[in-house]
Symmetry: C3
């Protein structure tokens, strides 16, 4: 039995009629604004080659660990879903994988994945019946047919999505060949990079050694010496800025920062590159490098993003069998107050520095992050992140940060996704949730309607533009 | 002045009319479903002997630490309430104790206890005026008279409550005589046991020594040797399964698990039984035993429940004077990400294992538990527990777990109570709160009404049935 | 362009009409009750001398770190705002500072500061247009003119605000000269003190040495010996009680308590006064002193308040340049379960002791504080504090404590402010939020309207009166 797929125009708005009316009005102004996506993980090759996407499973299911992790949690094997092990293609039939996915749609009830998918199915592909066991094959065929057309090439979709700017994420050891190709192609879409140096900073990263070699190769520096290593960072940061980067991004296990003296830092670095670092030393080096990155940001103007608190690759067998980023990264309790102090003691009062902090530990919103961002000139709060990039998560973010940090110490929304087609859906959810929060403030007479109107536009467009210096 | 006691048919539903309408509709399907109570603490002797309950104080007040702890917090002595010290009867007059309770009803305003009590008073006993100083004696008399009738015997109430299955909790050292009597009685009510081995696993339990002796006596094993000890567990688990058990239950101070080599485990066990264990070794042994229990579950199919995070018997004087379970168990911050990893590294990818995890630390819902349950095949989330078994607690549970774990990595509701008469009330609250949450999703157009209808029945009946293999 | 300033009479009430109606009704009874402010930080000199306040910047902006910290977070310098460095007057022009503040009003959108300010502007000064760049000078002039009149003297405002009692906070080393002057003046306003011994208890306090000297001077005791030191506390507590104090207040980094033997305590004290204490010893001494203070409270009846969990003076440069209390105190995760146990093991079952506990770590509400207060006779919960003294913060407080601790283990509202003019605004917000919470319970049929009416009056007036023994 197939059922209609309906994107209700009031979705995510509060049910109470007066609040819904205000939300609708606010959203009316925010909905049409261009999309700024200053932090994401799409593949720049898509826009460089503009090749057609393959099929529904390859485009929508297999790159999205939100989706296959849920199926996996209910006993569906990754093999059957066609998830590549260490990048090696699997023998799974994409249509069969898609059917498995379609049969299990009930698992996504109440999740943001369901909202994003429905938006993609209805808005991007024009489906009018829900995905289900019955409609699985029809979906697979129609999506496949659409993807073969010019209108569904990456650049065409980019333009259709009204994206003003899209940032991808690359490491210092990567050569940015696709970004160069995009720039040289004459295409006017703004796809920029962001500098994510984790592989050459994190001695516990499985790619640390090879990444360091490539880092040396690209910069011509002696990256096994502290001063050459720092210089190589400066060189690559400049190269990234040349490819449009306005930000760096740091995905560390904790938010720890350090402020060692130069001799201490050099000695620590020597231990790191010698491969003799203890876990505590690896942690201290990551901490020190955040402060070094802040120092460089004061020179080159790149905005820093800190994304801490994920226990990466928690599932040992899965990591060994499939590699990283397979939906088994689990948040942990994260301290910010003590962790950020060394960096803040050094640079925290300098308004020329801009550090955007994210969290996977929501308890930090009201307790630590809003008080810190509501005081230090350099700090801003990134939006609700990862598992919290969801209607309830976004609502909690506003409820728990606004009263102490205000709206203007936050940076609007960024989607953080590798699921390209879901980008408009995600921004739409964020705008709707923010408008709903504002509508509550208005109907409870805590904010004027004129003020709410300004704020809704600021959150959707002006704040990310300013925070990321776009 | 006495005031009417009214159980409003829309209680716990949202006030907003459209959401209330949806909640009402969803609840209409869930309300009549049979009660599955796979985790509780009623006394099997009640159903074995089917003897009449005594009086209002003995039945409703004295076994319910939710109630007397609140009176105690306001300076009422436990003696006056007739709370037995170490099981010894007190000299308190039950009617006087009941009057004290009645006079202090205002303390329960806004608490789930008030809702449960009102439900019992109105639905089970038919009262139409609230309990108060004025009505205390009338309540005491009428309840006493009712309890003397056949209709209020344990088995009659069990049937009236539409309970399909009720699990009690026993230790390996207990002989299950009451369960045997129930089975032999020919009564068709399903009262089963659950295997709670804490007293023979926790070297810091005050009954550890005697429990171990009884464990040996019941199994004929050398339980002071590691292999005999494990074999004794296997024997008792089989005996419990023979009395209907489908689950084990583990109430540990933390969620720590361990995966020692057999020689390490044996050496640790030898230290434990020699009475020489440090607190850290006692903790490590509890941790190791969770992994051993998981291993046995893969053999015998019993579902594991882990209930961590309570600082038991926090009030030293009360513990010394009255014994355990006197309302002085206080939750603490609880880590799951690191704690569960050894067990998960060993068995976490095996869908044949089923581990239901509970928490008293709500911060873990969105940060740790939903991401873990939304990934690992063996993990499911138990419902909002203990202090969080309440309308606001249940709402937070859904708001903070659904977006990441979905509904289908949760196991519906279980009441966890020793207050037999409150069981229908508690399930009714849970069904109403879940329907209200679903109603919000429906009215905010985040879920179809047809989907919500399925989910409400799944949460009330199908999910516990499946999760506990009933 | 200037816009109207409107204090809507339904502000902070839920938008849903039936809930709003109930909230309005409940608030109708609470709104006119006198203000009890048993915990605050106004300057007793105001009421002693009854001198006119200076100007808008000096009265409203410069003492309120909620306000200037927000401007500072957006790059406005403290110099420009006229914030004194170490109490030294700045050269900033008050009108220019006020203009800077006025231009940045958008930063306060959605914050409690905005609500408090609007209330002060509209109710105390009668403004009808919002503060903005355009109205800044008009505001400055009109406020200045008003402050020069008799009606805006401290005592006149005190009476106009319908304050029944206002407590200030002083240290043992302070001579209470202003309180004596108030008492001797014949004025009938009740302004009392509270005993805050942190400067003579916290060896890490920058004033510890001088404070100890003054403490000796005022008591004539040998405060460098343990027994003289304790006796000096008893003397000063009695002196404070003589100036109306009914409570002590303890602002410690953590909630740690200790229960050392007298020789251990004496030895620790000797290390402290010798200036040789490690951080751990300083912490242990603070912990021990909470238990000593509890012991003294059992003798003299003073209510204890514990305010833990702030990382004081987090911004090193600001602390060095400006001193303490400059908006750079940041909350940290705070344990209560283990921390309070030594004190509770000693005195926790004594209903004659009254300890009011506050938190900046909201995760403790449902996990630790409500269970503790719902059991121990000596414990009560202070209201949502500091950054959580806000509509959302107060709502979370009720949602997360009521079900386990009830309303009657809480103490109503206290404002904790040094911003005198905002006191009525803060109490008004608290009453409105509590009435809104109660209205939800009523409309969801979880509480009778008659009960809610009692509770709303208890929260606004009776509970603080009883808890603080006023």
């Amino acid at each position: 039995m197939s059922t209609p797929l309906i994107l209700h125009e009031d979705r995510l708005f509060p049910a109470e009629p007066s609040a819904r009316g205000v939300a609708r009005e606010l959203y009316g102004e925010a909905r049409g604004l261009p999309i700024l996506s200053p932090h994401g993980h799409t593949d720049p090759e898509w826009f460089a080659t503009n090749a057609a996407f393959g099929n529904a499973a390859e485009l929508l299911l297999q790159p999205d660990h939100y989706l296959y992790r849920m199926l996996y949690s209910q006993g569906v094997s990754l093999e059957a879903l066609g998830i590549p092990a260490h990048g090696r293609p699997t023998g799974a039939d994409p249509r069969e994988a898609w059917r498995l996915f379609a049969q299990n749609q009930h698992l996504f009830r109440g999740t943001p994945s369901a909202m994003w998918l429905d938006h993609v199915f209805a808005e991007v592909f024009g489906f009018t019946q829900r995905l289900s066991a019955e409609t699985a094959d029809g979906y697979f065929d129609e999506i496949g047919a659409a993807l073969a057309t010019e209108d569904f090439r990456p650049r065409a979709l980019f333009e259709r999505f009204n994206i003003e700017l899209l940032a991808t994420t690359e490491g210092p050891q990567e050569d940015l060949v696709h970004h160069r190709a995009i720039r040289d192609s004459g295409w006017t879409g703004r796809v920029v990079t962001a500098y994510r140096p984790d592989p050459v900073i994190d001695a516990e990263h499985e790619q640390f050694g090879p990444a360091l070699e490539a880092f040396a190769g690209l910069t011509g520096q002696d990256v096994h010496g502290w001063w050459g290593y720092l210089e190589a960072h400066r060189i690559r940061r400049a190269a990234f800025a040349g490819m449009g980067a306005t930000s760096t991004d740091h995905g560390h296990p904790t938010a720890a920062t350090a402020d060692l003296s130069p001799p201490e830092a050099e000695a620590l670095f020597n231990t790191i590159v010698a491969g003799r670092a203890s876990p505590a030393q690896a942690e201290l080096f990551r901490a020190q490098m955040l402060t070094e990155m802040a120092r460089m940001s004061l020179d080159d103007g790149l905005v820093m993003q800190i994304h801490p608190g994920s226990f990466r690759n928690h599932n040992r067998l899965l990591f060994e069998g499939y590699g990283r980023d397979k939906g088994a990264d689990i948040p942990t309790g994260t301290d910010y107050v003590r962790a950020l102090k060394p960096l803040l003691d050094r640079f925290g009062n300098n308004p020329a520095l801009s550090v955007i902090v994210f969290t996977l530990d929501e308890t930090a919103y009201s307790r630590e992050l809003a008080p810190l961002a509501g005081h230090y000139p350099c700090l801003k709060l990134g939006p609700a992140w990862w598992f919290h990039d969801s209607p309830e998560g976004m609502r909690r973010f506003r409820e728990q940060t606004t009263e102490t940090a205000g709206f203007y110490n936050t940076v609007g929304f960024n989607d953080d996704t590798r699921a390209f087609l879901s980008i408009p859906a995600r921004h739409d959810v964020a705008r709707r949730v923010d408008c709903s929060f504002l509508a509550r403030l208005v109907t409870e007479h805590r904010l004027g309607l004129d003020e709410a109107r300004d704020v809704s536009v600021d959150l959707a467009y002006n704040l990310p533009k300013r925070a990321y210096k776009l």
